[in-house]
Amino acid sequence: MDSTAILAELPRLRRYARALVGDKAAADDLVQDTLERAWSRLARWRPGSDLRTWLFAIMHNLRIDQLRHGAPECVPIDEEAHVLPVRASQSDRIELDNLAEALAQVPEEQRAVLLLISLEEMSYAEVAATLDIPLGTVMSRLSRGRERLRQILTGDRASPRLRVVR
């Protein structure tokens, strides 16, 4: 592993962290912690294996630690609290103002999978390896995450109510 290779992955790590965490400073802190842990685990890096998956996996584990020990994730607790002033969009284009806020309301384990696939364009197998979960779990989290996001963005009331998570 060398720094040039890591530098090349940095923009993507930052993009994913920003989308996952929301806050810019917190996202960059997560990226920085990821790099530091990567260096500390130099010896576990297998040359020839996918550096990107390895780095994303480290970031994922750090994020889990953060959520476990740090501030609890903001999860809407009732239907009222999460209703967004979303206009039923005339066009198919999603308003970006709404997107960040809506994304934050998707449970993180679903959000992570959704972002790795829709934004980072990883294959299902790469996501399974990165998050260390079975392929079936990748698929179910993805489908629930996308549908949840759609419901929030379109204010689809006919959809099942959001459950209280954790």
Partner: protein, 263 residues
């Protein structure tokens, strides 16, 4: 007879992760389910919008802290991250005394790991990481400063079990700041740090663990932003690291080599 199409399958269809045979079945099914088509279109719009919202991050200038961290852990918060940095640098057993109890505890837990790391990390990389960890440190770049060069020499020589003395690089514009003791693969190694008038820092990493190695001529390695010249002389391994151009570093390395040869 077709199995019912599940939501995960619809998504797999969208992401091109469905087996071709099943793909055809899903297409057929979709023709009869416009609501599902609408949902898929929305998922596509999500993908496009996510890129629109977050792709600008790719073009943002990297914050300095991140750029540094891509080479090695950055100084801010380094006390908190100390154990990691120690492992990273193979410098776990640095004698930073004061911290007493908790340090000893960490020590025992992480030491086996540290030795594993160190043994798999070649000389230039160890030197470059040690350089990257300590040279940005403003407050405590060295354990014993150049003001007490005699003490430094006595102490390091005693710990390394052989006479170790920092070369003088004044004529090349580099003054000694001081030095520190670090753990190598199986025992202590020394790091001397220098700086020039512009504040540019340079470190000389001296290891005495090369019993099995034959002499090796100058070699060059690049570890991120850090350039390293290293060579092996008897049981001594030397590595000179700095974030300066290769030819400039080569000049300093030659001077160091010549001084050490004369001893």
């Amino acid at each position: 007879m077709n199995a019912p199409v599940t939501d995960p399958e619809l998504n797999a269809f969208l992401d091109g992760e469905l087996a071709p045979a099943r793909r055809a079945e899903v297409e057929l099914w979709l023709a009869a389910h416009p609501d599902a088509v609408m949902r898929l279109e929305h998922y596509l719009a999500q993908r496009e919008a996510l890129h629109r919202l977050f792709n600008p991050v790719l073009d943002e200038a990297l914050p300095d802290a991140l750029q540094q961290a891509a080479v090695a852990p950055a100084p801010p918060g380094w006390w908190r991250r100390w154990p990691w940095q120690q492992v990273a640098a193979g410098v776990l057993m640095a004698c930073v005394g004061a911290a007493g109890g908790w340090f000893a505890r960490d020590h025992q837990v992480v030491a086996p790991l540290a030795s594993t790391v160190a043994s798999s990390v070649p000389l230039p990389r160890q030197a470059a990481v040690a350089h990257a960890v300590f040279s940005p440190d403003v407050k405590r770049p060295v354990e014993i400063s150049a003001e007490h060069e005699d003490q430094l020499v006595t102490w390091l020589s005693k710990r390394l079990g052989t006479a170790v003395r920092p070369p003088h690089l004044g004529p090349l514009g580099f003054e000694l700041i001081g030095g520190r003791l670090l753990p190598g693969n199986n025992g202590p190694v020394a790091q001397f740090m220098y700086h020039d008038a512009s504040g540019q820092r340079l470190t000389l990493y001296v290891s005495t663990e090369n019993a099995g190695n034959r002499d090796a001529a100058f070699r060059f390695a690049r570890e991120g932003a850090v350039n390293v010249f290293y060579w092996i002389d008897g049981r001594f391994g030397y590595a000179l690291s700095a974030g300066i151009p290769k030819d400039e570093l080569a000049r300093v390395a030659t001077a160091v080599y010549e001084q050490l040869e004369r001893r």
